[in-house]
């Protein structure tokens, strides 16, 4: 498994310059925005790093590479585990970088006390991105990098459209979501613990599902 994680890391490093631009752009946008807009840097960086986790599948598919990877001694299960471990580490790393940059820029422009108020909302971006890969990875495993990613984006698009419509039309949220929203306001720590538990559950089920998909897949 470690060998496959190193492979993905080496491929990520090949795009170092691109990610440097992403970070610089995030800093500029964050500096130029209002106080409310400042958390953009965390969201943006976490999301962009999540996109790399997706693109690592493209590298594997490039030139029929999956055939060779599946013939290696590490096998199908290790491939799946490596993808999840690498992506979780990567996205968490990107999120930490985002939080540190956010903290630095926010403290520089406003105050540390103000930042501490919004700090509990920061992990939400990480957890949402992790939940998203939990839904997307089985699709990528089953349908390949291109088709799987498109399906995952369509799913994300539908979700975004639903959120937009709910906000725009003022439709009442389902009771469960309303309760969670209230909990987020009154007891953010409890809400985060629940969200983290949900995230772990989604990733665990997703990983098992991906293993099952790969077990049955022919190359």
């Amino acid at each position: 498994m470690t060998g496959l994680i190193i492979k993905d890391w080496k491929l990520l490093k090949r795009q170092g310059r691109y990610y440097g631009i992403v970070v610089a752009l995030a800093c500029v946008l964050s500096l130029s925005g209002s106080q409310n807009f400042s958390s953009f840097i965390t969201t943006y960086l976490t999301f962009m790093i999540t996109m790399f986790a997706f693109s690592s599948f493209n590298y594997d598919d490039f030139d029929n590479g999956m055939l060779f990877l599946m013939a290696l001694p590490s096998g199908r299960h290790d491939y799946v585990k490596a993808k999840y471990v690498f992506s979780i580490l990567l996205i968490t790393g990107g999120w930490i970088l985002g939080v540190l940059l956010h903290l630095t820029l926010f403290t520089f422009r406003f105050s540390l006390a103000d930042y501490l108020e919004i700090l509990p909302s920061e992990p939400v971006y990480l957890l949402l991105c992790l939940i998203y890969i939990g839904f997307a990875f089985p699709l990528l495993m089953k349908y390949g990098a291109e088709k799987g990613r498109n399906l995952a984006f369509i799913g994300l698009g539908i979700l975004a459209a639903a959120v937009y419509l709910i906000a725009k039309t003022g439709v009442r949220l389902p009771a469960l979501l309303l309760t969670f929203d209230r909990l987020l306001q009154t007891s953010p720590l409890t809400a985060l613990v629940i969200l983290t538990a949900g995230c772990i559950l989604v990733l665990w089920i997703s990983c098992l599902l991906s293993m099952r998909i790969m077990e049955k897949k022919e190359f």
Binding site: L4, K7, D63, G65, L67, F68, P73, S74
Partner: protein, 283 residues
């Protein structure tokens, strides 16, 4: 037996594989056949990349599905159209291989790469066809494999590059307890390397012969229609109509040399045998 396929069946639209073959220890076995004959499908079955609908695939004496990671490490693989991502370079590969194969010999691998003039910092996709082919072989040889499975390792290479690769394979076989299963379109390469070969056509093994037997006993008879009418065809495997009469493939050329001395006979080469076995008609 290092590899054993028993009545392995796999169906695709318009194609059916039905294959039995063996790769004994200490031998180089070739799988030959035209494009689309089923060579890559057979290799995929051996590597557990596809699931046969019937039959059994055994590697190192156990079903391929039950092979452990340690046993898989004993196989060196070259696939004709697949390798590590072309965006990686050779330097990137060393830590990857070190973690994938417990017996990976880093220094030997890098020294060989340098000896073959492979640039360590150049992306794999930027290497020439010959360099990329050499790299694939060096990866397969880098971890003390007991069995090499090589699908078209010399495809697209010039004579010199092919000879370099064949030399590497001959050197690999020196210890005596290793085996190679190789497929190639260039059968002349294999005449000096293989101990035996299987010929596959439309998913079925149509011939299995030792290379020495083929080169020693097989012959191609060139006969006129008149000669053909009086010929004892009991030892003829295939017949092909020609402008002058018939080309006939036999696996007992000595019989015809002794009993029909006036007949034109050519020494059987792997290429001629393949052509006759696939294009020729049975008598």
């Amino acid at each position: 037996m290092l590899v054993k396929l028993t009545n392995v069946e796999k169906h695709y639209a318009g194609f059916r594989l039905n294959c039995s073959m063996k790769v004994p220890e200490g031998s180089v076995t070739a799988l030959l056949g035209p494009n689309g004959a089923g060579k890559s499908t057979t290799f995929k079955a051996i590597l557990g990349l596809i699931f046969p609908e019937a039959g059994a695939v055994e590697v190192f004496g156990k079903p391929v599905k039950q092979m452990t990671k340690e046993e898989k490490e004993k196989i060196g693989i070259v696939l004709s159209d697949s390798c590590f991502s072309g965006y990686l370079n050779i330097e990137d590969l060393t830590p990857i291989l070190r973690h994938l194969y417990s017996r990976f010999k880093k220094e030997e691998f890098l020294t060989r790469c340098k000896n073959f003039g492979l640039p360590l910092e150049k992306k794999i996709k930027e290497l020439s066809t010959g360099m990329a082919a050499k790299l694939k072989i060096l990866i397969a040889l880098s971890h003390d494999a007991k069995l090499l499975i090589l699908d078209e390792p010399t495809a697209g290479l010039d004579v010199l590059a092919r000879e370099e690769i064949l030399d590497m394979l001959r050197e690999y076989m020196i210890p005596g307890d290793r085996s190679i299963l190789i497929s190639s379109h260039i059968s002349s390469d294999l005449e000096g390397l293989c101990d035996d070969f299987y010929l596959i056509d439309r998913g079925t093994i149509v011939m299995h012969e030792e290379t020495d037997v083929l080169l020693g006993n097989y012959g191609l008879l060139k006969v006129t229609e008149e000669q053909y009418r009086t010929l004892d065809t009991g030892r003829i495997l295939r017949r092909k109509k020609e402008s002058f009469g018939y080309s006939l493939l036999t696996d007992q050329k000595q019989f015809y040399q002794e009993n029909m001395p006036g007949i034109t006979m050519e020494k059987g080469s792997i290429d001629e045998v393949i052509t006759m076995m696939i294009r020729g008609e049975e008598i």
